[in-house]
Amino acid sequence: MRYSGLYFIPIHGATQEASASTLASLIVGIESHFEFATRQSSWSLSHRLLRSVPPANLPPHAPKPAQSFQHILHVSYLSRDKTYCYIHPFTPPSAATVAAVGVKAETSATPSVGIKGEPTSQAGTPLPIQDTTGPTPGYGTIIAIPYAQSESHLGYLGTQLSPLWAYRHALHIYQGITYTAGQYILNIGEVRMARSGPSSSSNLVSPGVVVCITTVTGGDGYAEETDSGYGGDTEDIEMDIEELEGEVRQVWNVIKKGIDFGKGDIREVMMGRDALNGETQKEAVVRMWCDALKLRG
């Protein structure tokens, strides 16, 4: 059984040079603090975000309908041949929250996916959206579609369903780096955002770097029956979520020791309680990534 936590490090100015420098520092940190860290095969990620479009003919004083985000996510180490479509409602941040600089992301009252910010200095980079409504266990809807049909499905959402869904951004991680260090798996990568168009690879900026720390627990550690290690039988494994999250944070504290990440709040997102159910572990990973990759700006 695997439990993961994710850290999103915003890059000031979103320049590729700054992002590459941060990535290099993290690699040095991992290789120096984890003596037996072994580099594994690379991984990739593709994330497209769409937002629901409110009806155009709403009366002026009518209450605004609830809005939703739709994520189209492919993570190669989670599943090579599946893309996940995740839809969930969200509450737009209040004006006070938007105006504040260096805002902490507050943990919601009953979190399944824990979202925390690490206060450093004032943030000058795109802020993550303050999702005040959750997520909670089983929050939103997730389906899986064949990876080969991702682009055509996205085209359908963006054209035929354009009155309902508006495209927001596309994020990619190319050639992400994977380390195994004992019972931990470390996936790091630079996030690249295309400035225009859903699949444009020109004029890329790099809003941040992600570090995903996975701790493997129970039995022989790896659930061989799945292609990612998630979703194995968890019935005989006694798990303490807080203990697992503590382990992940410990590893992160070791990795980031001595590294100056500059301005910006580092965002922490954990798998949450869905990790306890073997069948929904993959969904918990999908929610974790989607929550981390919601950017603002």
Partner: protein, 260 residues
């Protein structure tokens, strides 16, 4: 992806004969097809056509007119579930609508068919988008994607493949009785024997289809049209295949003016 289509009608009395002819032409045994089609429409009403265009004259200073973008049509779409006969009327065996399962073959497909294009090629042409749902709750996804349930029906028939032509000899079945108040598809499938043909004569529809990835390649398009027309000629005397009225396959949600 685009589809090139021709349709024909087969009365019930000739169904077995046509099935044998098609088996001979396609050189294969017919493959039994049972499907459940669940229709959805967007959860908002379409705008009145032409509402966003300026009406009448104006006395303003002439300025460069920006292109008026028309309102985008809203279309019906479908979830199609592949079924077998023993899944009907058997709650323990039937795949639930609220759970796609994780089988090797996707049981659910999200299908969007656009209104056929205008044109004079002799075959119907339309944009079609199919997305297989491997796991998850298809109905919950459709609702979350801003759609609402409309109705459901069943298809039973046989499929053949002859070179690039996909041939479907089928008829539409439905559960008699009014279900206008239903807001979700049924959790349990009815017994197959309780379904009745939508066409009370029991007649079948012969759908012949060629899929073309991209219409921007004229040579590929022409090849597809020619092949479909050759099949049309081949079937003359057995089933008359023709191009139906394109608006009979119109999937747009119609604007309904508000009554006061």
């Amino acid at each position: 992806m685009h589809e090139l289509l021709l349709y024909g009608q087969v009365p019930l009395s000739r169904h077995e004969q046509v099935l044998k002819v098609l088996a001979g032409v396609a050189a294969m045994q017919p493959r039994r097809i049972l499907q459940r089609h669940i229709i959805y429409k967007p959860d908002r009403e379409p705008e009145e056509a032409g509402l966003n265009r300026p009406r009448g004259g104006t006395q303003t200073i002439a300025v460069k007119q920006t292109k008026q973008v028309g309102s985008k049509d809203l279309n019906y779409c479908q979830l199609i579930q592949q079924l077998s006969e023993d899944e009907f009327g058997n709650p323990s065996k039937g795949p639930p609508v609220h759970g796609g399962g994780a089988g090797a073959e996707a049981k659910w497909t999200l299908v969007f068919n656009d209104t056929p294009d205008t044109g004079d090629r002799g075959v119907l042409t339309r944009l079609s988008q199919n997305t297989d749902i491997i796991s998850g709750d298809p109905h919950a996804y459709m609702v979350a994607a801003r759609h609402q349930f409309v109705s459901e029906y069943y298809i039973e028939g046989h499929r053949f493949v002859h070179e690039n032509v996909v041939i479907l000899l089928h008829r539409v079945l439905h559960e008699p009785g009014v279900r206008s108040l239903a807001t979700a598809p049924k959790d349990d499938l009815p017994a197959f024997s309780s379904l009745q043909p939508l066409d009370s004569s029991g007649g079948y529809i012969l759908e012949t289809k060629i899929r073309v990835q991209d219409l921007n390649h004229p040579a590929v398009l022409e090849a597809g049209v020619s092949e479909l027309k050759r099949f049309q000629t081949q079937m003359k005397g057995c089933v008359e295949l023709s191009e139906p009225e394109r608006l009979a396959l119109d999937t747009r949600v119609k604007y309904k003016p508000q009554t006061t």
